[in-house]
């Protein structure tokens, strides 16, 4: 007899059940119950944001090289669980060949962003030749805590495509997993848990998008909200984002990869520093 897995949520590096005690069943195409998944509440969102904020300082101050290594470590851990993920993807209703492809793309995407961790800064920052005696440069800094609504389809690849560039750039995240296909997201949390990713950097909640997305959009300590196109929810979410001027990014191509997925979630900071200019000796001789 198989041992059925309990799918819990992931907050602050721990796997609690939702504080609400609620659940919703996930079934296969024949109607057999695959799992009872946590129906996370607004309170879970708030707890997760607290955990993400707490983790932000340490994660954003890690060296870029170290973040790259940790991202690569996630790829290693994910690849080691290939069978489990493909089984789950198939259980949730896609073909074996599609599952194989999605899994391979997911691993590749992690490796791709592992490489960006210590390179995007060089591509997107600048030294600015001001007309005064100052050294002036603009560099990127992570925005802070990012709320992410993972796409419904491609439940593993979609999640990875939005979460990994955010943490690559030093942000911490609170994710609402695919509502209809949540199994991989919880298993992916277990991968993160064993990958040197500090607790709180990625927090993953399962539940209803219609309940979790508005809570994330209205939270005053979330700096940006990222999702694929959410249709009718787009406008109310945009309105909720106004109160703390949350940055809002909607990706029509949320299963793609690119530098902009990293740099969109960065602020540009410009620093001015005087250059001593007393006159006399110059560098030419």
């Amino acid at each position: 007899m198989n041992i059925l897995k309990t799918y819990k949520i992931y907050i602050g590096g721990a796997f609690p059940r939702t504080e609400s005690g609620r659940y919703y069943p996930i079934t296969d195409s024949k109607g057999n119950t695959l799992a009872n998944v946590c129906l996370s509440s607004r309170k879970d969102v708030r707890n997760a944001v607290v955990a993400a904020r707490k983790a932000f300082g340490g994660w954003s101050e890690k060296t870029a090289f170290n973040r790259g290594q940790i991202l690569y470590r996630i790829a290693e851990m994910l690849d080691g669980r290939k069978g489990q993920f493909i089984d789950e993807l198939v259980l949730q209703g896609i073909s074996k060949s599609k599952a194989d492809k999605e899994f391979q793309q997911s691993v590749d995407r992690l490796v791709y962003y592992a490489g960006w961790a210590d390179k995007y800064q060089q591509i997107a920052s600048s030294v600015n030749p001001v007309s005064s005696s100052h050294f002036n440069f603009s560099a990127l800094e992570p925005m802070g805590v990012i709320g992410i609504i993972a796409p419904q389809e491609n439940s593993l690849l979609g999640l990875i495509s939005l979460v990994i560039p955010a943490i690559c750039g030093g942000n911490t995240v609170v994710v609402a997993a695919s509502e209809s296909h949540p199994l991989c997201s919880v298993t992916f949390a277990e991968v993160l848990h064993s990958s040197d990713v500090p607790g709180g950097v990625v927090n993953i909640l399962t539940g209803k998008v219609a309940e979790l997305a508005p809570a994330l959009a209205a939270h005053m300590d979330v700096n940006a909200l990222v999702s694929s196109d959410l249709g009718e929810l787009q406008k109310p979410l945009a309105l909720s984002c106004v109160e703390n001027l949350k940055r809002r990014f909607t990706y029509m191509n949320s299963d793609q990869q690119g530098l902009n997925f990293v740099t969109d979630l960065q602020e540009v900071k410009t620093t001015w520093h005087p250059i001593e200019s007393i006159g006399g000796a110059t560098s030419s001789y």
Binding site: V130, C241, V242, N244, L245, L259, V268, T271
Partner: protein, 486 residues
């Protein structure tokens, strides 16, 4: 806290008056809307006065655009975008922008005088800061027009279309330049609305735009109040809103465009920290404090309005600061000796006075310089508050006037926490002799611009903009192009 009443400086600072001449400026009595390179009378048939805040005299009557006028301007901009501007090569667009920059330089002094008349800022600032920076902004972005593919790695740069731009009254011409120059370089066309108290230099810029031969409709300038701005924000054929102004109005704009295709960049309010450590060069730091809060009467979104002084030097710094404040010359904006000009409007003066009242009621200790101020016009003495705590309204809300709040700190960690404890994140200043400490602070302060051992410096190549509720998007530099490209 320092109870230095002995700082009253008895020296006389009455220079002989040295006013800039106004003989060479050309001002019409009445200004129309600038649409399609034509001066068009408003369909509202309404006009409003633009006054000199230093004398309360009317400078000109300005057309008040309504929905119909704004629609006309947007249609002109759309037509110009589709038929002309989007078909020009970047190199050709650049030539027009270069030409505008050059013609502005030729008329720089006229612009400076009009800016000081209309806005109230000292001629020294409009002449040496606002106008040259505005010219340079056009010159800088002109050169980007044919190089956009270098600006955005891995993106094919494309213009957005018609940009609606709404600007404030504190740096009228400079803000017009910050908005128009990158928009044109990136291939967009523009409908710009200046602030109702300071329309004149934007309208003078329209003269240059017409003279430069820029194709009709590429830049349209519609004047008016908040309802004119709302008509731009709500117009369905606008692709992008660029706004500089208060956080409150920024949020109104965001709500208005929620769920539409319109993109936005917002440059909003601030309550920036200026931090003085005990190893800082004190005299330079005092100049930096003065420049940080009293530059442009404190009408600066990035003003260093929250001063944090390390506890062991607080008494000395405050003493020197008070002494320096006594030598500031408040008066005629056109006088070359003037350090602090007129408050931009009666309303703004009332707002500042309200906050000064609140500060006293909250129990903070006020100090104002003893200088004489003119009997006519809107003026405010340089003001500081000591004995301020984080919970005070005057330490939290943007006053937008020459009012400084002073707090003290002991440790680096403490001051970082205090400085970041605000919903704003526009700018910050750090004064210390220690390089490693500068970089510790400049990386940990959550603000878009950080000045080390200097303050309130601006340059066309230097990206400017905020974190958190100070807005999003950058103006200036290569990053400023991102606001106007897909």
């Amino acid at each position: 806290m320092a109870k230095n009443t002995s700082t009253k400086n008895t020296a006389e600072w009455n220079y002989a008056a040295s006013p800039e001449s106004t003989s060479h400026i050309r001002l019409e009595k009445k200004y129309q809307l600038f649409i399609n390179n034509e001066w068009v009378s408003p369909s509202s048939k309404k006009y409003f006065p633009s006054t000199n805040p230093a004398s309360e005299e009317v400078l000109a009557e300005i057309a008040w655009a309504n929905d119909v006028d704004v629609d006309k301007a947007v249609k002109a901009a759309r037509k110009a975008y589709q038929e002309v501007w989007s078909k020009l090569s970047g190199a050709e667009r650049g030539k027009y922008i270069y030409r505008i920059a050059r013609m502005m330089q030729e008329r720089a002094r006229e612009f400076a005088v009009i800016e000081s008349l209309d806005c109230g800022k000292p001629i020294r600032e409009s002449r040496d800061v606002d106008v040259p920076l505005a010219c340079n902004h056009f010159f800088y972005y002109a050169g980007w027009a044919d190089k956009l593919e270098y600006a955005m790695p891995h993106k094919k740069p494309e213009a957005l279309g018609v940009a609606g731009q709404i600007i404030p009254w504190n740096f009228p011409l400079l803000m017009a330049a910050w908005k128009i120059a990158p928009a044109l370089a990136a291939g967009n066309t523009v409908v710009l609305k200046p602030a109702e108290t300071t329309s004149l230099t934007a309208l003078k810029l329209a003269e240059i735009i017409k003279d430069s031969g820029l194709p009709p409709g590429v830049v349209n300038i519609v004047t008016g109040y908040g309802d004119t701005g709302a008509a731009i924000v709500n117009h369905p054929d606008i692709d992008k809103i660029a706004f500089t102004g208060s956080t409150n109005v920024g949020k109104i704009i965001q709500r208005a465009i929620a769920g539409t295709h319109k993109k936005s960049t917002l440059e909003l309010g601030g309550k920036s920290a200026n931090i003085i450590f005990d190893d800082a060069p004190i005299d330079q730091a005092v100049e930096g404090i003065v420049n940080g809060i009293f530059f442009n009467q404190g009408h600066v979104c990035c003003a260093g309005s929250r001063l944090f002084v390390q506890e062991n030097i607080a008494e000395r710094v405050i003493h020197k600061l008070k002494s320096r404040m006594e030598s500031l010359y408040v008066g005629d904006p056109l006088d070359k000796n003037t350090d602090i000009g007129a408050i931009n409007s009666k309303e703004q003066l009332e707002t500042i006075e309200k906050y000064i009242r609140i500060g006293k009621e909250e129990g903070a200790e006020i100090y104002q310089s003893q200088c004489a101020i003119p009997s006519k016009g809107y003026f405010c003495r340089p003001t500081l508050f000591t004995g301020v705590s984080q919970s005070h309204v005057i330490a939290q809300e943007e006053i937008f006037g020459p009012v400084l709040t002073i707090q003290t700190f002991r440790t680096v960690d403490e001051v970082i926490q205090k400085a970041n404890n605000t919903p704003y994140g526009l700018a910050a200043g750090v004064w210390t002799d220690k390089g490693s400490r500068i970089f510790n602070l400049t990386t940990k302060l959550r603000a878009g611009v950080v000045w080390a051992n200097t303050y309130n410096k601006f340059d066309p190549v230097s990206p400017f903009g905020g974190y958190k509720e100070s807005g999003f998007g950058r103006e200036g530099g290569v990053h400023g192009l991102g606001a106007y490209l897909k």
